[in-house]
Symmetry: D2
Subunit: 334 residues, 4 copies
């Protein structure tokens, strides 16, 4: 399978971190044009990844830009104390991210919650919108009375095309043109390449939202080119294709055998020689005609989505408003 | 109390029918500049009301324009068969209304569901949006394949200012400018002057939505002047002020005594001499300091709202698309 | 109107405090057999009321027993800090109540959430059940491993007769017989005599739940006689009759005029002479044929119910388990 | 791998049909003591399966008894007309099932909706309870006035042990002892061995619900032995283990290669020789330490669950009451 095909397939993940892992798996060495740095602290892994140029972008199939990934493998355990620490970390990383990309402390923000209220794993965006603190109306109606330490924040959930008949990007564009924010922050539920990242990973990126990304079928993106202002995307994988689960697990089986000094060629036959995407194509070929290649989500999705929406809303509240203490961010959210 | 004061107070009702009743009660004879015609059939009362000129508008405190009110006193009984008949009636009246005000069969429609998802009596608009059939995306993406008998319909629920930080009218304006519909249909929950109208009355009007109307605190209207295109408002009273209940009931008590040949002056003392709005002011004066003048809604509001949202969505689907049979409109809604 | 009729009507309120106020209004002096003591602190008013004997019971139309009423007029403002203080107060008062009526620290508790999930103002009980900490299964399955400071608590929401076809008291009786708790705590939404008490008042009583009380139409009670074990009822008024609002307000109007030295006889005519229940009967007579005497609830009921359910669940968690700190009770609830 | 191990593993599926398929795959010929007959009509496949004796029970790891499985591969497409046909089929099959096992037309029924309201894929039982028509209270309170063609039906949703602290079977037992139904019908969400059966298959069985079956962790069963009356279980698979998806797909891949005349030994190596359960154990071994062996459900679960709950409720209403026409069952459900 050629590099080109690989890139074509790589687009399948919305996470830059996964795209990089896939690219590395194909090569096994650092990728020119892609810088990454990982820190771990108390069960929270933060990876800062920069795609610096076209070469890096081509290599991993992701746009030039800044990506921060916060991975918390233990997040699905429902540990309240961990959730609070993650909210604080999201707040700190998001604040640093804003600074790094040059968004000032008084820049006016429009938060956009993409997705569908009525489909639980796609309801992340609307749930965050419901929980963030909005202030724009105070700035508009009584600017003199807004306490220091707050900035203008508004928030909308534009709905999905199947319900509205309008692409969400068009709705956002109309609202941006009328309300003139300086920056858009878009929250979106994503499809992951790995079951273990579902509801445990948060990605922040300044590269916008591109056609076909996220759970819904977006045909138009939500980018700086379209909106005329910077857009920061916060994404959380909440679903995974059945085929992805199969493919990943087969790879894990091979690694497992290798790590036990097994003869993978003997055990796995020609499958062992298949490249990742070749095997994925095979898996899809088998599942597709039977209509089995569903997007699936963990059974406990109702609780997971609510927890992560609270974490993100708390993190945004604390990072957007200096008056909100980032050490105790959860208190400001419902 | 002067006519002017009366008018000032009359604005308190969002229903033209109630405004007219109030004005008549003050005068007792037909109001110049206001035409009204009422028909009843099988428990459904339809009143077509036209405010023809400034004189009529001043007299009842409502804008010049067309108003249709559908009253169904039995609607709160949960009778499925009656609900289906009401949906069919809404469809027929709405279709006739469109024709009367000159909206053509291919005019592109944007349905706007005003109100707040999370406040049950204010959730009418969003619930209708969720249940109407949208088609605009088919017209945009594959216009050749849309079956005859359909027109372009889109639908949005812009949220409320307390959640978004943006006036809903600004959001709608932005979406209208970008998506270019020919007509807006706005659905809104209203406050009634009469407990018996709550969840039993549907008003259709071509006069737009004006500041302060509906349940939420709208500061900007949603009018032809602002949007640049005609706007039809569909409103349902879902709440009533405690003070209104008291005031109305006292008036009913007086009428009750009169109808039994009682001496109302003796029984009601000076209260009997008070004009309606004077008494209302007194009631409010008593309730306000105690924080008692709440907006209230019937206990069964969850079911009522769902039923009426289905009726309106079914009625809209059948009246907007010729391909949908207005004799069996309920089948097309969830 | 005779005293007897008055008592008959007095039963209409589920709150002993209101029953006592009504009885006093009829008499104007302390009621033999009824002791009451009221304390206020920081906007929370606690009244401990004891109906000591048959004479007291007849006078106010309430069973012999202990009643504690916690009134928080500011509770509807949505103030989180006040909510936390109320939860702590509920915990303290409930703990004291248990001690006073002789419920020991290891007595096994069954919490029963009466009411209907799908009718917001009647959903209080089920919502509390969802939020209390249950421990009985740990005691049953691994008694050696339960940490000290906890007792056995279970919780059920039996549903309403319209949904189950079974009286909730029969369901509870069956569960009690099988699971053998020592005490039942039943949570129920009530109808109030006063709009200002809706969602601001919590009553704790050891007299059980009697036929006809609460929002639903209970035909069988939930009493010590039926269950064979003590039952403590926690009730919150969440609805009020339209007729009650009218009647109360008319009384307030009269008092308002008196306090301004007005001549109420002149202003209110014969109405002024009517006794409270006579007037209520008149109001009902007027409203009933029109189907207007609805049970109503404030527009914001969704949020109010959630807030109060959290307060009660937090209060119960802290008072039932010594290991949970009653100074920070809210942390243990969702 | 021995037969015994196989049986041990076979218990993992709640569907008798799947258990039989697994057993056949191990043997390849009819199983003594197990009779099965399959009919298909318009996309609905009905299999009647009888486990006649101990030999059959041991062979497939399922209790002696009657099983009817209704498979509708197209059910996830959201086709309303198909849903109505399935409801009618469920009604017919259920009516025939009742007759076959000797449940008379006036036998009193208690419907039990097992599962958890707040976990969407486990909410099937409570949703069915909410939508079935209950009549027991009419029979209890005014037996003379019940129209002919109805029988006594009650319905409860006992909740799950994590919320109540009580095993659902204990709650049901208490209610059965007190309300004395003749038959229990229990609705439960199941785990499937095959992703394609999730939300497309309905199983009816007269063998009760056994410890460990369904989604929750039941430790006590719900059987005729425990309840003293017959119990019919209606189950729908709504979740599947990630490991099951992987294992099934690998088997499908092998079959796919075989059907294309590929050399599976060459392509799959030793994996090809592994028995189904050996491979599953390997898959689990790889996934488990990483916490990846989640129970997953399709992304669209909210809609699927609602649709199937309506189908089952409609089917039950029509089969339990002669007065309800089984050709138009959907009309009686919400």
């Amino acid at each position: 399978m050629s590099k080109l095909d690989l890139q074509q397939y790589s687009v399948r993940t919305d996470l830059a971190l996964e795209a990089k892992e896939i690219a590395e798996a194909g090569g096994g060495k650092p990728i020119p044009g892609v810088q990454a740095q990982t820190d771990e602290e108390d069960g929270i892994i933060v990876t800062k990844l920069q795609v610096e140029n076209e070469q890096g972008a081509r290599a991993i199939g992701k746009m030039i830009g800044n990506y921060v990934t916060i991975e918390v493998p233990g997040l699905r355990s429902g540990d309240t104390e961990l959730q609070n620490r993650v909210a604080t970390k999201v707040s700190q990383e998001f604040e640093a991210f804003l600074e790094r990309i040059g968004v000032g402390r008084t820049a006016k923000i429009l938060i956009v919650g993409l997705g569908n209220w009525n489909v639980t794993p796609d309801a992340l965006g609307p749930l965050v919108v419901e929980n963030v603190m909005v202030t724009r109306h105070y700035f508009e109606l009584m600017p003199d009375q807004v306490a220091p330490g707050y900035r203008s924040v508004s928030a909308v959930a534009p709905g999905v095309m199947g319900t509205t008949g309008i692409e969400s990007s068009e709705i956002v564009q109309g609202i941006v043109e009328r309300t003139k924010p300086d920056v858009v922050i878009a929250i979106d539920a994503l499809a992951s390449k790995a079951l273990e990242r579902v509801n445990t990973t948060i990605q922040i990126a300044d590269t916008g939202i591109h056609p076909g990304s996220g759970i819904g079928n977006k045909r138009r993106g939500l980018t700086k080119e379209i909106l005329g202002i910077p857009i920061i995307a916060i994404g959380v994988p909440t679903v995974v294709y059945a085929s992805t689960i199969v493919n990943n697990t087969m790879e894990m089986m091979q690694r497992h055998i290798q790590s036990h000094n097994g003869d993978t060629d003997k055990i796995f036959g020609m499958m062992n020689q298949m490249e990742d995407n070749e095997r994925l194509r095979f898996v899809k070929e088998v599942l597709a005609p039977l209509g089995h290649d569903l997007l699936v989500t963990p059974k406990e999705i109702d609780q997971f989505i609510e927890d992560i929406a609270n974490i993100i809303a708390s993190g945004l509240n604390a990072s957007l408003h200096e008056a909100i203490d980032s050490n105790n961010v959860a208190a400001y959210t419902h």
